[in-house]
Amino acid sequence: MEYKLVDFKTPVHNDWCAGCGDFGILNAIQMSLYELEIPPHQAAIFSGIGCSGKTPHFINTFGIHTLHGRVLPFAQGAKLANPNLKILAVGGDGDGLGIGSGHFVNSGRRNIDITYIIYNNGVYGLTKGQASPTLKLGMKTKSLPQPNVNDSINPIALACISGFTYIARGYSYDIKHLKEVIKKGIEHVGLSFIDVLQPCPTYNDINTKEWYQSFTLDENNPSIRIPKIYKLEEEGYNGVVDNDEDSSNKIIKAIEKSKEWENRIPVGVFYENKNTPTYEERLQSRIDNYKEYPPALQTIKDENGNPNINIDRLIDELKTR
């Protein structure tokens, strides 16, 4: 059956603020699934808590809106129980890098084939604009009583050292580019992380749409306007790992790139490594038929309702003689 873009949408009323960056991400996800021709029922989108957490309700695939910070373990559990599913995980920066940071780091150790998208706006929007883990030190967004006293997390660098195997960034108002970054992430076999810069029009009055889309003037030639956001691939950056020896250099390069902020903010693919075995492959090496007969698809009872199992061997091990 052929699917249309509309097949990935639900009639659920969307209550995000007008001008919210989340809309761009939502559209990019729907378009990615449509363009990759993923049947809606074979995909499941998991989300954390916050404005971004509502995303699954607007997408016509299985939608699992989980707990604050726990989106990754929920999603990983589903993927490992049924590796045939296409699993996406979405959530805010507070959700994934604050309360969920332990899961973020440990997911990297597993490299399960999931695509994780963080809606990064620097604030806790739904609770009215507190500082999130990605808000820079000293910033005072409008609802903060005092400037931010914490330093910020660098999500790209954290993903690099945690073991994510596809690490990219997008900007929520450049849907076309963002969609391509997400599609690559979905197609990447392994754990993908996409950091999406997403203005919060209501609470982040510093990193606004205007701020992201501003220009600086070239020192030597003031007639040249340099856009703040630029695409890595357009400036000759290549984060794809060709061989294993190359991997640590590429990680260091990606981390260096990720430090660029203020006047020049890179988007695109920072790092990609196809050589790290996925957790599914690691399981497959222990369980011969894991992929074709994963936990979710096993027959556990016979037609009489009795256990489809023989544990005589295990009971024999316990026999007293």
């Binding site: 129980a81 556990i300 016979d302």
Partner: protein, 677 residues
């Protein structure tokens, strides 16, 4: 008080990491192979090496289900074990010890705890003995304890001569097998069975096995020659080879529940390392490839997560794909799981949590026994949602219960907490092999195949996961099912699973979920909710009925005690009930069983006077949490609470004594037991 001569109590102790475990394993295996029944339990510190640990085994030609305080045979190779355990040696018991440790000062045993020091000091003072190991030995002699000296160093060097192997560092590790062989010699135990026990324990290490067999035989004959005059009383039991039980198995609590999971079809389990729950997952992972009847090869995926929050949420994620999923933990981990438990509740996800209790709060006594988590298990998580809390009374039950609890989770589409504990997990029993082939797997309302027919299922346009109908249980479909797209959210949701704050929908959904509580009580068979574990039939005028109510692993010690009491005196009427379903609480059923019993006794009794009923609650906590539940839910008023919270399981000895006091009207309302090393 000497509790029983029909069973023998054997204890081996030593510093952790010194081989107490392998020695006890050989002992258990050998004894069980002879056809005797055994009950063993392991006590250890939260420590890797050096602190005192011990293993006690009680064995008999009759059924044994619990430990006793008295020791018949104490096997030691260090000073601390003598100091800690020798006070419990019965008159005429046997101490196997290294004469070289007698020179050690008690003050120099840095791992000795205050209770043990106080106990021995009190004994020595009252007997006018010097506060020293020599004093202890003298006191034991006075009590007619038989002293079997095993000078390990000397024996090892003689043994090394005999086998022409002088690598003493290797030989130093055989002290435990020597002590074990000495105790089997004392029992005049069958040598081939001892050898078999050793070979079995070291099955994967043939050279070590062989060396140990030689050392055991060497020690066995040494003891036989030197201490030929050991009284027969300890050997009578081992001479009875009970052929009837030749088919029995010897199983630990941390093997039976995972075995049950395999049979139940649990194919996904998560855990974060925690005592005493981890063994369950390790057993499962060690036996991860499964033989299916249909010749397919099954498997169970076991994941060690970064924390318990990931453990439960990963298991929930897996459960959404249709697999039977479980997470296994203990109190501290379960505390972290509370929020996610509510998520599974509001989204009606079948999920099993195996909760191996240990003494809390906080880290508490990490390796010790307690039943302190009952009220927490019943109320963990904010808000209201239905959950089943079910508990197992012994190791054998825990196998069958595991299949039940998975069925409950699927049938009622809600989380189930299976209460187990450290004592069950680390105890070992002989029992009948599990009859699993005819057990039923009931998956409740779940779609089969990879798609559903919307119209056939009665939906007009779109599948509704939380369809409101007369039945609180709606059709569940696994993720990936065609035409079955649904949404889940921790927010209140509508029939599709989308967020709603609509007050009417809220009422409908609350009622849908919480009406499951009544459904659970009405659908789970009564005998699965409360088991009548013991009921004797006295003749003649019964004036007193003692009703005992317990939950969980105190069962064995209670049953052993009741059998002993009623054997000696059949004029007391007992009714012993184990409550297995703890939430929703089977209140009416409990009242009904007790009322029926009283009524029955009244009709037998021809006098007009009514029967005095004494209700006794037995459990391992401070608050008497089961009693709290009983008072909350029923009109019943308890007369006695037998409690314990020192981290050591209730012994047969303690419960027997407590019940005798109740029979003789000499018991306090609240009895706190304190035994255990």
């Amino acid at each position: 008080m000497v509790i029983s001569r029909e069973s023998i109590s054997w204890v081996i102790g030593g510093p952790q990491g010194s081989g107490v475990d392998s020695a006890s394993h050989i002992f258990l295996k050998s004894i069980a192979m002879s056809g005797l029944n055994v009950f063993g339990k392991r006590e250890y510190h939260s420590n890797i090496k050096g602190e005192h640990s011990y293993f006690s085994v009680r064995f008999s030609n009759q059924v044994v289900r619990s430990p006793v305080d008295d020791i018949d045979i104490l096997v030691t190779f260090d000073a601390e074990t003598i100091v800690r355990h020798s006070p419990f040696l019965i008159k005429g018991g046997i101490l196997i010890y290294d004469p070289d440790v007698v020179g050690k000062k008690i003050e120099d045993i840095h791992t000795l705890d205050k209770s043990s020091e106080k106990r021995i000091s009190h004994i020595l003072k009252s007997k006018n003995k010097e506060f020293s190991l020599a004093g202890i030995i003298e006191e034991l002699k006075e009590r007619k304890v038989i002293l079997v000296e095993l000078p390990y160093a000397k024996l090892i060097s003689r043994f090394s001569e005999e086998i022409q192997d002088h690598s003493l560092s290797k030989l130093a590790r055989i002290t435990n097998v020597m002590s074990l062989a000495a105790s089997l010699a004392v029992l005049d135990f069958d040598i081939p069975l001892m050898e078999q026990g050793i070979l079995d324990t070291f099955a994967n290490k043939p050279t070590i096995a062989e060396l140990n067999v030689k050392a055991a035989n060497f020690t066995y004959s040494y003891v036989k020659e030197k201490f030929g005059a050991i009284p027969e009383k300890f050997s009578f039991v081992t001479k009875i080879h009970n052929e009837v039980n030749s088919n029995s198995i010897i199983a630990q609590g941390n093997q039976t529940s995972p075995l049950g999971k395999i049979v139940a079809g649990c194919r996904f389990q998560t855990y974060y390392p925690i005592t005493p729950a981890t063994d369950d997952s390790e057993y499962l992972e060690s036996n991860q490839i499964l033989d299916q009847n249909d010749k397919n090869s099954g498997s169970v995926v076991v994941i060690q997560t970064e924390d318990e929050i990931a453990a439960i949420t990963m298991a929930i994620g897996a459960a959404l794909t249709g697999v039977r999923a479980c997470t296994t933990t203990s109190g501290p981990g379960f505390s972290l799981m509370a929020e996610a438990l509510g998520w599974a509740g509001i989204n009606e996800v079948p999920l099993l949590v195996s909760l191996y209790q240990r003494a809390g709060p906080s880290t508490g006594l990490p390796t010790r026994q307690e039943q302190g988590d009952l009220l927490f298990a019943i109320s963990a998580g904010h808000g209201e949602f239905p959950r089943i809390v079910y508990s197992s009374g012994d190791i054998e039950e825990s196998f069958y219960d595991t299949i039940r609890v998975f069925n409950y989770a699927d049938i009622f589409q809600t989380p189930v907490i299976h209460m187990l504990d450290k004592y069950l997990s680390n105890s070992i029993i002989t029992c009948n092999p599990f009859e699993y082939k005819n057990l039923k797997i009931e998956r409740g309302k779940i779609s089969k195949g990879n798609s559903i027919d919307i119209k056939q299922q009665g939906f007009t346009d779109h599948f509704k996961r939380f369809k409101l109908s007369g039945d609180p249980i709606s059709l569940r479909v696994p993720l990936g099912t065609e035409n079955g797209i649904f949404w889940n959210t921790g927010d209140e949701h509508d029939e599709m699973g989308h967020i709603t704050e609509d007050p009417e929908t809220r009422i409908s959904m609350m009622e849908k979920r919480l009406s499951k509580l009544e459904l659970i009580r009405s659908r789970i068979p009564k005998e699965e909710q409360i088991t009548i574990e013991f009921e004797n039939n006295t003749n003649g005028n019964v004036k007193k009925l003692i009703v005992i109510v317990s939950w969980g692993s105190t069962k064995g010690a209670i049953l052993d005690s009741l059998e002993k009491i009623t054997e000696a005196d059949d004029t007391i009427q007992f009714l012993y009930l184990q409550i297995k379903l703890l939430n929703p609480f089977p209140a009416r059923l409990l009242e009904e069983i007790i009322d029926n019993k009283i009524e029955k006794l009244n009709t037998i009794d021809d006098t007009s006077s009514s029967i005095e009923t004494i209700i006794t609650i037995i459990e391992m906590n401070y608050l008497s949490q089961l009693d709290v539940l009983i008072k909350q839910n029923t009109k019943l008023q308890s007369d006695h609470n037998i409690l314990k919270y020192n981290g050591r399981p209730m012994s047969h000895t303690e419960i027997y004594n407590s019940l005798i006091n109740i029979i003789n009207n000499q018991s306090e309302r609240r009895v706190v037991l304190k035994d255990g090393v």
